[in-house]
Symmetry: C2
Amino acid sequence: TSSTNYGHVYNPNAQKVSLANLDTFARRHIGPTPANVQEMLKTLGYSDLDEFLTSAIPNHVLIKRKLSVSPAQGYTESEMIEHLQKLAAKNKIVKSFIGKGYAGTKLPAVIQRNLLESPEWYTSYTPYQPEISQGRLESLLNFQTMVSSLTGLPMANASLLDEGTAAAEAMSLSFHNMKGKKKVYVIDTNLHPQTVNVLKSRAGNIGVEIVELPLSTEEGITELNKIIKTVCGGLVQYPGTDGSIHNFTKVGEILHSHKVLFAMACDILALTVLKPPSEFGADIALGTTQRFGVPFGYGGPHAAYFSTTMKYSRKIPGRIVGVSKDRLGQPALRLALQTREQHIKREKATSNICTAQALLANISANYAVYHGPAGLKNIASRVYGFTTLLAKYIGQTEHQVLNDKWFDTLTVKLSGVSADDILAQALSKYNINLFKVDESTVSLSLDETVETADLVNLIELFTGKQVTLEADTELPTIPEELIRTDEILTHEVFNTHHSETAMLRYLHLLQSKDLSLANSMIPLGSCTMKLNATVEMQTLSMPGFTQIHPFAPIDQAQGYKELISEFEKDLNDITGFDATTNMPNSGAQGEYTGLSLIREYHKSRGEYEARNICLIPVSAHGTNPASAAMCGLKVVPVKCLDDGSIDLVDLQEKAELHAANLCSIMITYPSTYGLFEPGIKKAIDLVHANGGLVYLDGANMNAQVGLTSPGDLGADVCHLNIHKTFALSHGGGGPGQAPVCVKEHLKPFLPGHTFNADVTKPDSIQAVNSAPYGSASVIPVSYSYIKMLGANALPYVSAVAMLNANYMVKKLQPYYSILFVGKSTPHCAHEFILDLREFKAQGIEAIDIAKRLQDYGFHAPTMSFPVAGTLMIEPTESENLAELDRFVESLIKIRSEIDAYINGDKSGMVLKNAPHSMQDVVATPQEEWEARGYTREQAAYPLPWLKNNKCWPTVSRLDDTYGDMNLICTCPTVEEIAGE
Amino acid sequence: TSSTNYGHVYNPNAQKVSLANLDTFARRHIGPTPANVQEMLKTLGYSDLDEFLTSAIPNHVLIKRKLSVSPAQGYTESEMIEHLQKLAAKNKIVKSFIGKGYAGTKLPAVIQRNLLESPEWYTSYTPYQPEISQGRLESLLNFQTMVSSLTGLPMANASLLDEGTAAAEAMSLSFHNMKGKKKVYVIDTNLHPQTVNVLKSRAGNIGVEIVELPLSTEEGITELNKIIKTVCGGLVQYPGTDGSIHNFTKVGEILHSHKVLFAMACDILALTVLKPPSEFGADIALGTTQRFGVPFGYGGPHAAYFSTTMKYSRKIPGRIVGVSKDRLGQPALRLALQTREQHIKREKATSNICTAQALLANISANYAVYHGPAGLKNIASRVYGFTTLLAKYIGQTEHQVLNDKWFDTLTVKLSGVSADDILAQALSKYNINLFKVDESTVSLSLDETVETADLVNLIELFTGKQVTLEADTELPTIPEELIRTDEILTHEVFNTHHSETAMLRYLHLLQSKDLSLANSMIPLGSCTMKLNATVEMQTLSMPGFTQIHPFAPIDQAQGYKELISEFEKDLNDITGFDATTNMPNSGAQGEYTGLSLIREYHKSRGEYEARNICLIPVSAHGTNPASAAMCGLKVVPVKCLDDGSIDLVDLQEKAELHAANLCSIMITYPSTYGLFEPGIKKAIDLVHANGGLVYLDGANMNAQVGLTSPGDLGADVCHLNIHKTFALSHGGGGPGQAPVCVKEHLKPFLPGHTFNADVTKPDSIQAVNSAPYGSASVIPVSYSYIKMLGANALPYVSAVAMLNANYMVKKLQPYYSILFVGKSTPHCAHEFILDLREFKAQGIEAIDIAKRLQDYGFHAPTMSFPVAGTLMIEPTESENLAELDRFVESLIKIRSEIDAYINGDKSGMVLKNAPHSMQDVVATPQEEWEARGYTREQAAYPLPWLKNNKCWPTVSRLDDTYGDMNLICTCPTVEEIAGE
Ligand SMILES: Cc1ncc(COP(=O)(O)O)c(C=O)c1O
Ligand SMILES: Cc1ncc(COP(=O)(O)O)c(C=O)c1O
Ligand SMILES: O=C([O-])O
């Protein structure tokens, strides 16, 4: 790597024209031009990138090997699209009536184009800064309202990762609700198999025993009564995996009589027409909202939902949007009840979930907004009608429909033909996939996409008869005893935007309230908010990737197989590891998976029980201790020194003290302080020496690619947040995806999956997620990112990410203290911490600066993580010099506002009143305004370029206390808003 | 048609669930729900739609026949996509090195997604309201700056329709510049054949004689000198259609010595590296910008460019963006020099062009912004290098490259093989199209998409040898004598946004300044700004439609053929005509074509010279007289009565007076006053009785579909603006497309095309546009619109469009006078005129209301057309009741502001200061503001819902006079802006 090479990568042969394509992706992805890079290096006192890198990264950390990602020069964007289309074409699009928790659905084109394909929606961050996030907060509130209305339970969160993990959260909530004293969790035998697997995975580590009982039968009830004293809760599925619909009131009663929780996994579409779980006494309802507009995607991403009665409102896992008010008393939305979350509660958190499925929750919520209650009921009734008509035809044959009630799923005992034969016929004659239950039983689940022609085909398949059905054939209606009688989705938002014009405007209005990467940099430390290139994101609209059922026969998914295996090869190369699993669908899930692998390793050596201690530096992200706790590990914190590095003495002491019980250490590298700690290898050696394995949290991988690697450092396992390092967009709070990479000795344990032989090995641990490759359809995004940069440019990405950060440090140092930089290492890595604690005594806090930055059109950096009272800034390589300068200029101007405040100048109040919403600036009466000590112009346009380009906050500073005290987590009624 | 049926169409079987899909497109396209429709009917005093329609439309006008568009119930959106994909798949994607003015190009993904696929860009209207259009005005100014820089000529317009019509405009400008006294226009023999055809079409009608001379030869020069006295101007092509590059300085000198104009048609990519036309003394440069990012699209749409020296700045045809300033003295952009245009100058206009190619000009301009000067030169140099390398290899064979200089095109005389054989081989072995010049000659044009593999294939094709070429093979560079030496695209905007992040933000910034249908209704009378549904617009991104060269062999375009012929069938049905041509690519072009057909008809009867008078009601759109003039017709105006209808007495008088010379009448129906004139049939009969034919301007077709039709009324020909009636989006000023439909007697004359045998008949008139189907790739948009509504719902579209308009009339009548309604007909059709002339004496003008509407978040209605001092409002069927009510509420509130003004209340100044830009409201110092007599809140939030949802103007009211006096039509330098 050298600066001359950088010019080469940025634009190969810029000096001479050759056959090679000149318009490299690196040129488009990396913000600074070669000339900018030279300028920044000069500012830092270096003559080339090599000199800078060797100074910034400890010599024993910097690797010499070259990456082998091919093509080394990277694909051009058009080559990439062509290559992806070839891969997509290797996946076979089949009408999949497989069911098992995944249903065909139609994503309305207006939502596809204006939400899924809109960078304004997909590049935004989790709405931690509510004043510039009211659009997606409103949309997530709609999601919660939808879930609450459909399940009949008043409290819902803003999405979970998938149905399997949602079920695990229900189990965990039930278990902890009994303070861990009752160890049995009862589940019905009629759950989706993958849900059972994920439950077992999670249960094992915390010492819960899963007991499966046929809860729809007398025997099951008898068994339940026998063990009820040890039971912490129970879960049933509605409809069951075989399609049957049972009234589980009795189960609920038994559980309640022992004060433990009753949970139901429910089909979201069925709930629009069938009695809701609230009517059966459920305390928790959960499931997936996939079939509300989100395509299969070979398993994800989709948003799971989770709702409870009010009693458990403070125990719900995940993010919850709440209605509060702003500084000026206007209603305003925010993330509520954050004190439950892992970043605050750490190992005591209710769950480790962090990144969830915001983008997908928004799609599903808007699907409901667009169809409205009548539209959704129409869809559900049509699905029911088709299914029932088919059941009637099957009823006329020797085959037998095993379930006597159904919504969309029939389980059919075949007569005179094998399941394999029927599946083969369905595929070859009608291009339809069914599900094989056993050698003589199949099941099928109809969905929104079913057409008359499909029904005719299915009838022919089962009866051998060709029928003619007219479009106006009336369909059977849902029987009285099953039908839902209360009104659903009565809130105005679900009854307004039913024309495409209205929907377009609603989506546009929401989007216009939010700050995204389309506006300005989002310099969130630890989050790596880099460019999510269009070509990468286009893969999410390719039918060859989106239309594949996760449990389709593997030979129908050869494109995915090829892509994923190449992706894993590249990740192995980049991380210096030997094998990768793509099952975990968030960073926190990656951590859970990695730690589970470590535990399984110790188990294989008979040390499972003994080795139950996990060392975690105090600077670690809250998900680390939370994940460790979920794995049944005891967290022992390790101190950090004043220079930000791990206290190796403390580490050694604790490692040795706990040598017999040492399971692992979790380290982030570069550290969460943004440092290439020189002691990293020593730390790793110390843990190894005491029998522990090393988990490397890959959140900061963007500083490592091609320069060093977890494997080269000596770690045993790491996860990668591809929604950070590898350009998958953050989606306003998800989707994420976190491959876990391991050394050879952990490889045998990588998680298996009931429905996928490829990932399943003899010693595999249980599935950690519902689908074999997690949110498989986002993998092509990161795959393209890696393939377009290639081995040559990937290291420059990290180099420029670091250069950008250090350039900002240099520019800001005269105005602010920068934490740690210049102590154990002369430079920061790819992020740095602005220390604002010195102003606290004079009344200025980090939040004031964070909020004031919104008035400058910027998203605040990460606040008070990893150090309270600070802001952590990570620019990424995608920001160009001009944008870095604008951000620096803003912070410098704010510094003068801080001085004004400290000096008692009234104009300093601009920090306390920040951010200034448009309404505040425009509509505050002059008398009131005059009390402020600064002009409207100073409030809104503190720097001149803001007049031309500014993303405005739409509400004033949120009142968090009010919100937590007055919890409203569904769309407020007009009266509620007025009552505020 | 009845209201019950409306419910049926809106959502068939809403009462019962059947096999038919319930989610009809009609439900999504039409704003009002059945309940809304009932409510509006009640407001108007009707009980059902039939009653309303029979009252609103004269009985003899309303037709009884049912449309036969199939499927009658319309495709659902997913059926449509499937059907379109099948059609697209019937077009064969071949790498087309055919050239002839169309080159392969790469549309950068960031521009595709954030401009071409963004409703914020494509649903906006021509920027006649500059305060809410600064984004696309800036982008079009960039286009002009780009054209000006690349051609070296200071004055450029904001696009023309295609290269052929641009050439015709050059001819026309040259001819009129000599006051029509010199009748010969000289063109080089080396022009693209279709350009020659379009020139001949236009020349014939105005009596210009086209003379083709080989102007690159001595003989040509000698011939030119012989006829020079009769010559009004000349046109050469650079590079020529055979690829050769000639220095035409001598031609320019000869023309200039006779004070006539020298025009050059130039390849835009070549100009980045070859000497510009300015260096050869050109007065006019023209061409297409297609290869700057806009795919083939089987012929269009693409933006043509046109630039001149300053001397002809006021004679340039088409729209021109100019830099001016706003009321507060800030620089601001607007459409300049409108007094030249057809809507003002009518038959004396410099051209009839109205809708142009704004969206495509914006794509090409942003392509240049993204690549920058160095990037563009790289692309051009690579194309040149590949071409030259190929020429070298061909030079080693018996084949002979006929042109001794080239940029991207080689014409090859074959030896030992026929052209047909080589074409067949290229296609079958390499999937490459070449161009057949004659039996033993082919030509080929390389482009941005050429890859090393293509070169290797082409070398093999011509030499039989397989060569191996390394990616770093250096390419031949452009010879000294051809190379451009001055700097290009030096303005900052072309040197800033080169990373995708920067480009995304720039596009987003521009877009955020503009009002589009994504914000609120755009109730422009005569413009039919209805929903452009996503599914319709998705066709513009389907490679099967976009990647087809317009002159590809017809068997490669079977999908287009099938689609277009079905489309024409449906249009024949809808218009009541017998045949349709899809060649004209704008309404004005449609008019020109229709009138040309009428003239050809008279010619076939020996009456061409005699019949040269065209009757046009005074209420006609300006393009009508302008088109008539271009056809060599004399315009005789026909009066209108006080009730808005045509004065049939005056018509009869004039028709009879001119009976011997009567060529035609041009009528708009419903009239431009928005009336279903009862006298229409009588008018038509009168003209027919006197030997004239009837041209029906279809701009108002949205009130007719399924209710009446031009054919049923008795007209002979009409054009349809599919960018109005049939949902093609307006694109901020284009693309348009205007099929012309005719009765049997005009069918033989429909325009032919050199490269398309399908459209060419023995008696065809010359091509009117460069491509056989005009902007072919937009046809699928309107095709989908028609097919998703089907015969059943199409009439409801017109019915609801009328209902919406009449509902607004009813609501507004207590506050404003509505012109004409209730006089000759009890109702308006689909639009109506708000008469504001009564306020003029008290100082309030239509423009004040128009500008004030922006403060309410709305686009102004059509201003002062067809009646000065009025606003014409057309809501379309896509607006729902809530939006109509918001608009009505705004106008009512404005009425109270008018009263305040008239009563001398200072707060009435809010109308004069409107619109209030954000900067005005935020940054105007309090002392200044206080003088205004109203608060900032009243300025910006006159109604409460604006606080939640408002599209802001970004500048204050434009100063038009200043702009016209200080003409700046390229990006101003920093100094120029400061100097303002
Ligand atoms: C250091 C670190 N580890 C883990 C995570 C958790 O990742 P996720 O949000 O994908 O669950 C984060 C998230 O920001 C992080 O910063
Ligand atoms: C009545 C009428 N005729 C013709 C036209 C010209 O159509 P185009 O702009 O497509 O050239 C218009 C355009 O608004 C119009 O309103
Ligand atoms: O909470 C975080 O996503 O880091």
